[in-house]
């Protein structure tokens, strides 16, 4: 390993990339699901009334 480089900024950057991408993926999936289910429920209610 290169002796001139402090490893911790690289470690923190790698963890930040992985964790933030995972959180964004989960958040985006939850939002997409909620939006789709709300639309389906609204149409169901519209059909019943």
């Amino acid at each position: 390993m290169s002796a001139t480089l402090d490893a911790w900024p690289f470690v923190i950057a790698a963890y930040a990339v992985a964790v933030s991408a995972t959180v964004a993926l989960m958040g985006f999936s939850v939002a997409t699901l909620r939006r789709a289910e709300r639309r389906a429920d609204a149409l169901d209610r519209q059909g019943k009334s």
Partner: protein, 238 residues
């Protein structure tokens, strides 16, 4: 398998599993990453950068497993015409692409202090980059296909053909010996020291459960969209 062909039955089963997979995955990943950052010792050769493997290994596994899932779903779609197979393949593509990208970025971040370079056109790195581009192409194809059966079949054939890249990624470190190290973890054992290895299975399992939870969410969203679309079409034709 055809027991789950009914979307309503699938959604009934998937709803509780989505939450369970998600929460258990988050807990396991939190334990693994805390262990990887604060409990395990630095490697005698790599120093602190070895900690990057606790996120790099699961993301590499999920990038490849995601395409394995697309290929299996594509095969099921083409052979048995299972109604949920295309939905499953389409739902897997975006999370697969995200983890392939995480694998490439974290590998690059690890490479700079370890190899002295951000990127090298060696077999493993290049074949993983090809996998990422295959994901992007599959996402575009599946999006363009929409509900059209012919387009969905083309996407399925692409999903199957793209699986050729998986053994290339796996064996690349044996076929072309360049910068990337050989296999560290195999079915029969590992070359990694016991004090360093214990967070890896937790991390792989945790990220895999989160990945499954995301796929289930995306499948449910696609099915809800299809239901809305079908209902609107019926209403328009009355």
């Amino acid at each position: 398998m055809h027991r789950f062909a009914n979307p309503a039955r699938f959604v009934r089963i998937a709803r509780p599993l989505t939450a369970w997979f998600g929460w258990v995955g988050i807990v396991l990943v939190a334990i693994a990453l805390t262990g990887g950052l604060a409990v395990t010792p630095p490697d005698y050769l790599q120093g602190e950068t070895v900690r990057i493997m606790y996120i790099h290994i699961p993301s590499a596994w999920l990038g490849m497993a995601g395409w394995g899932g697309i290929a299996a779903a594509s095969f099921t779609q083409l052979v048995w015409r299972h109604p949920l197979a295309h939905v499953a393949a389409r739902a897997t593509a975006v999370p697969g692409a995200v983890y392939a990208a995480i694998c490439l970025v974290t590998g690059s971040i690890w490479g700079r202090p370890t190899w002295g370079t951000w990127w090298e056109w060696d077999g493993r790195l290049t074949s993983m980059l090809v996998l990422f581009f295959l994901y992007l192409a599959y996402i575009a194809l599946a999006q363009a296909a929409g509900r059209e059966e012919g387009g969905q079949r083309i996407a399925a054939i692409f999903g199957l053909v793209g699986a050729i890249n998986l053994p290339i990624i796996h064996f690349s470190v044996l076929w072309w010996r360049t910068l990337h190290q050989g296999e560290s973890i195999g079915l029969t054992g590992s070359t990694i020291d016991k004090s360093l290895i214990w967070p890896i299975p937790l991390s792989v399992l945790g990220f895999s459960l989160i990945f499954l939870s995301v796929i289930l969410m995306r499948m449910r969203a696609l099915l809800a969209d299809a239901k809305v679309e079908a209902r609107l079409r019926r209403m328009a034709s009355i």
